[in-house]
């Protein structure tokens, strides 16, 4: 037995500890709730000097999966973690990983798949992976998350297949429990093997290989049969690994588990943390004399058909299969369907009824488990019971609240004539008016009572933008703080029409709206002159993961505005680094510690990236110069109404994660502008114009003056970070000099 120690940690933290002890070569990841803490905690351990797992923050889950795949083909031991739509975004890569037979471990903290967007836990994501060729282990509590991570890698390498360790988002990922872990990392490594000798990898010049040749029939049949054989082999390997693990830890696992099943006449089948809860219900009903039990599987792939059947007592005549997801139209979630298929193989006459429960993290109480067991019991007695239903749904009240609080913002109300535009000879647009005073006449398209933090910059920037846009607007928000705080169902802060879509599809979605509008107007379905300005709002996070789609959209040049509020981080998920986070900044995935100084990359220069797409208008704005902001919004609107796409970037304050006082945020933005970290300029039809030159005004300050105002960067002022600070200053200077040169020359 290897020495163990008692800890109090969440499932996510335990997954990270397992990864640190295994000493993976690479973790490629992209933050998504509720799995984010795994990368955060590993990064924290790394900054403190306890872990040397190479952490690569990808620009999206698809890329994260790519990074992992690449690292595997280079012979590395590789680790990943994701959830929900992140998993679905990476889904395409999963069969690549398994089909070319590279083992790795990915944790999935299960969460509801959007939309509507929900961050809570259910199993709608993990069931998409059933057909990917990955082995899937399901952990029911934090201890099992740790143990399955260690067993998982050993299983993966034994059969050359990748492994998913799945567990309930929040219930298991975030709940802290007492757990036992290996005292010594060496013991972990001697269990999983000190190094992995990949049968094939690309770093052996003596043995050049080709990975991923193009393959049609008849070869795919044989290739997939090999995969099938590996899954079958896993049926034997998994119990062996569990056995070996029990020998060194005393913690014995099996592929399936039952409670009260020996003599049960009726049973509940349920996955994850709910299995534990249902055991309480079994105890209660057993006291009443009801012969009921509950059973579960710890392995979804390969599906342990035989072991599950062996759990069923000969007396068993009724099962309620409860799924935390639905395979819509099949009258059952996936586990329910597979259970039925398994029983069919044995020509069993056991009655199976299916219930969908606990979607989007709806709590599972003992009372609900009791009710399910009673229904299973009724089914076992051949009583009349619904074969399929949603547990916990309700109809709604007849007198539901549909009160309107505001009059619609009509075209005439939203056209106060704050700004006027004139097209000059060179084709550029000149905006007149747009003072802050005039701006007060614009009806507010956003209502108060939203949930943004005190002093948040997002509503401020959205409001300033909309003051400059006359007439009808349709808004589209990417996922992010701006979206989450404004639309908590059943309420919305928007007084005008609004659409949300996920990161990779915000810009394409709005461009689709533009296309349908144009086409419907052309066909006479919408009146001439009833025009709209189409506005998309994204955070800098959305401009990381959604960059490709946004650039693709820009290249098509639809008539729309894209405003990015750049607060330099993934604030909605607890401040992980974005590519726009300042270099050196402290975030929850770029900790500062003895072994690490914060973020290692420079902040992304997004306006310059958009400039290369050739869209007609690009501008940077700051709330510290509100009149300039409103004018630029008005100009963007003119371009979006008649020419094509406009991109606007606002530096946006985040008091919570910048770790500064909300009261003084305007002066922080002012410093950001004056130090040229966020210079104010326009690129109109390819011509760069500085809107504000702090040098000329005698207001230019070092970047350090800006950085010291924020808790996230003020450590960089200390002498030990001098080099980093100088480096950032050099980069900001380089960009500023280049910008000035562009402003001076019409050809640049």
């Amino acid at each position: 037995m290897n020495e163990q120690k008692r800890v109090f940690h969440s499932g996510n933290e335990l997954a990270a500890l397992a990864a640190k002890q295994i000493r993976y070569h690479v973790m490629g990841y992209y933050p998504i709730t509720p799995s984010t803490k795994i990368a955060e905690y590993l990064d924290e351990l790394k900054a403190a000097g306890f872990s040397d797992v190479r952490m690569i923050p990808a620009d999206g889950e698809h890329s994260a999966a790519g990074i992992c795949y690449g690292a595997c083909t280079a012979g590395g031991r590789v680790f990943n973690a994701t959830s929900a739509n992140g998993l679905l975004y990476a889904l395409e890569q999963l069969p690549v990983q398994s089909g070319t037979r590279f083992p790795m471990v990915m944790n999935v903290a299960c969460r509801t798949v959007s939309g509507p967007l929900s961050i809570k836990g259910d199993h709608s994501d993990i069931m998409y992976t059933l057909n990917t060729g990955w082995i899937i282990l399901f952990a029911k509590n934090p201890q099992e998350v740790y143990d399955m991570n260690l067993c998982g890698l050993k299983i993966a390498e034994a059969v050359a297949l990748p492994v998913i360790v799945a567990f309930d988002g929040f219930f298991t990922s975030h709940q802290e429990r007492v757990a036992m872990i290996f005292e010594n990392d060496e013991d972990v490594r001697s269990f999983v093997g000190e190094t992995y000798i990949a049968p094939y990898h690309v770093l052996d010049p003596e043995n050049p290989i080709t990975i991923g040749a193009y393959m049609n029939e008849p070869d795919i049949m044989n290739n997939k049969y090999q995969l099938y054989l590996a899954m079958e082999e896993a049926r034997h390997v998994i119990p062996q690994v569990f056995q070996e693990y029990a020998g060194i830890t005393g913690r014995q696992y099996s592929v399936v588990q039952g409670y009260g099943m020996e003599d049960a006449q009726a049973a509940l089948f349920i996955l994850g943390s709910s299995y534990e809860t249902a055991k309480e219900a079994v105890d209660q009903l057993r006291k009443e004399g009801l012969p009921v039990g509950v059973f579960t599987t710890n392995v979804l792939r390969p599906f342990p058909k035989m072991e599950l059947f062996q759990l069923l007592s000969p007396k068993l005549t009724g099962i309620l299969a409860a799924d935390r997801q639905d395979s819509y139209g099949a009258e059952g979630g996936n586990m329910s369907l597979e259970l039925k298929a398994m029983l069919q193989e044995h020509a069993s006459s056991i009655k199976v009824i299916s219930r969908i429960y606990g979607l989007s993290g709806k709590d599972f109480y003992v009372e609900e488990a009791v009710s399910m067991l009673r229904q299973a019991y009724a089914a076992s007695l051949k009583q009349e019971v619904e074969v399929f239903d949603y547990s916990g749904r309700y109809q709604g009240e007849e007198e539901a609240d549909r009160q309107q609080y505001f009059a619609p913002i009509t075209l005439s109300r939203s056209t106060p004539g704050i700004t006027s535009a004139e097209t000059l000879e060179d084709g550029s647009i000149k905006i007149k008016g747009g003072t802050v005073r005039d701006g007060l006449q614009m009806p507010r398209r956003l209502a108060p009572g939203h949930g943004a933090c005190p002093g948040c910059g997002i509503p401020i920037n959205v409001n300033l933008l909309l003051k400059g846009i006359e007439g009808n607007v349709v808004l589209l928000f990417h996922t992010g703080c701006g979206m989450v705080v404004t639309t908590p169902y059943p309420k919305t802060a928007f007084k005008v029409s609004y659409v949300h879509n996920l990161f990779q599809s915000g810009a394409p979605t709005l461009s689709g709206i533009v296309a349908a509008f144009e086409e419907r107007q052309r066909r006479g379905e919408l009146p001439e002159g009833d025009d709209f300005t189409f506005v998309m709002i994204s955070g800098d996070g959305g401009m990381d993961i959604g960059m490709g789609a946004a650039l693709g959209t820009a290249l098509r040049n639809p008539r729309m505005i894209l405003m990015e509020y750049d607060n330099g981080g993934y604030m909605n998920t607890g401040y992980q680094l974005s590519y726009s986070t300042p270099k050196g900044a402290k975030t929850s995935t770029s900790h500062v510690g003895p072994a690490q100084y914060g973020k290692t990359m420079y902040h992304k220069d997004t306006p310059q990236i958009f400039s290369a797409t050739g869209i007609p208008y690009i501008a940077t704005v700051g709330e510290n110069q509100p009149a300039d902001f409103i004018k630029k919004a008005a100009k963007a609107a003119r371009y979006a109404q008649s020419h094509g796409m406009a991109y606007i970037k606002a530096l946006s304050a985040c008091p919570l994660n910048w770790n500064d006082n909300p009261r003084y945020e305007r002066s922080v933005i002012d410093a950001g502008v004056n130090c040229c970290y966020h210079p104010l300029y326009e690129i109109e039809n390819g011509i760069t114009t500085l809107s504000y030159d702090p040098e000329e005004k005698g207001k230019k300050i070092p970047v350090a003056e800006f950085f010291k105002m924020m808790g996230r960067t003020k450590h960089l002022i200390k002498p030990n970070f001098e080099e980093i600070m100088e480096d950032v200053q050099r980069e900001v200077d380089r960009r500023w000099e280049r910008l000035k040169a562009r402003a001076e020359s019409p050809v640049l």
Partner: protein, 354 residues
């Protein structure tokens, strides 16, 4: 440090001693939950669980944290919220009236509230059925000791529990906070001790003055039969019915109309559309005129104070002011009555009153 195991003084039918913390984001209730969890798990060797209610964890939004202790050999199989706590900590008195805050509380429950008010006043405000109520002026101690609210609450909760050993709590603070923020350690330990020592406690037996509030699952008027398809929301701007006053941390902007030059800078700095501008006249000319702030939607960030060029907006301490005299109703509303849903009781405003 490992303390000798103390038998749990009481447990529910599942064998758990349960704690619930009711707070709003930013006051450190989650960290408090974690510390109470570690205290149970690592120092007292209880089987322990700690988790929080999750959602948008922005500053000022309601959060709940749950702690379960069981004897070392007792499995914790349940992951659902604490319905009937033995000990409850309420981190902000503005949570009075908020749905579910006092769910499951009766004379068997030890209740700790952060407030300057007396137990009798708090019982009235919270309409508490029964309970052993401790009031602790956390705000005052926080300011005096330059510490955080959760330290004071932890001290008070420890005392109210009647069995958690204070010296272990001190040890955890030394181990966790002390290691991460050594400069803060002494003030935190002082806050912890004053929280432990300075509460005022009074026991209220269950009586019929206020009814018992059972724990219920959240339910809405919209269900599968009447919700617009696809989750569409058809009530534009409906967040206006949220009162966000509880986000304020003691300070409010005060508006001095006579100094206002109608420049609109406050409106460019306010994330919450608080200032109510209407068409009117200023210096004999038509202008958008600032009537003043809508305090239901002010989160107290004070950005407006900083951008006002004429000191027409200044910062004030909320409890020293009668802000509702200055309050201006949202001028865009077309409804006469607005029933607010908020962190601070079910206040109702109507046009007659404001």
């Amino acid at each position: 440090m490992q303390h000798e195991t103390i038998p749990l003084p009481k447990t529910n039918a599942y064998g758990f001693y349960e704690i619930r913390l009711e707070s709003i984001g930013g006051l450190g209730a989650n960290l408090s939950g974690k510390i109470l969890g570690e205290l149970g798990a690592l120092y007292l060797r209880y089987n322990t669980a700690n988790f929080a209610s999750y959602g948008s964890e922005k500053r000022g939004t309601p959060v709940k944290s749950y702690i379960r202790y069981a004897e070392p050999d007792k499995e914790i199989r349940i992951s659902s919220p604490v319905e009937k706590p033995h000990l409850i900590g309420i981190f902000h008195e503005r949570l009075a009236g908020k749905t579910g805050v006092l769910a499951g509380v009766d004379e068997e429950t030890a209740v700790v509230v952060n407030t300057a008010k007396s137990p009798d006043e708090i019982r009235r405000e919270f309409q508490m059925h029964g309970g052993v109520l401790t009031c602790i002026d956390g705000m005052k101690i926080t300011v005096e000791e330059k510490t955080r609210m959760n330290m004071i609450m932890l001290g008070a909760l420890c005392k109210a529990s009647g069995f958690l050993p204070f010296e272990c709590l001190e040890e955890i603070i030394r181990e966790t906070i002390g290691r991460k923020y050594p400069a803060m350690l002494d003030s935190n330990l002082r806050g912890l001790r004053r929280g432990f020592e300075e509460g005022t406690t009074k026991a209220f037996p269950n009586d019929e003055t206020y009814p018992y509030v059972p724990f219920t699952e959240e339910r809405r008027s919209l269900g599968w039969d009447n919700a617009p398809l696809g989750g569409v929301v058809v009530t534009a701007g409906s967040t206006v019915s949220n009162d966000v006053s509880a986000s304020r941390e003691g300070y409010v902007p005060l508006f001095h109309q006579e100094k206002c030059i109608q420049c609109g800078m406050c409106d460019t700095a306010c994330p919450d559309m608080v200032y109510q501008f209407v068409k009117g006249e200023w210096k004999g000319k038509p202008a958008m005129v600032n009537l003043g702030p809508d305090y239901h939607h002010c989160k107290g960030c004070l950005r407006c104070v900083e951008v006002c060029p004429t000191a027409a907006i200044t910062a004030g301490i909320e409890y020293e002011q009668d802000i509702w005299k200055q309050h201006v109703r949202n001028q865009d509303l077309i409804v006469e009555r607005l029933e607010f849903e908020d962190l601070g009781a079910n206040s109702i405003v109507n046009e007659e009153k404001y």
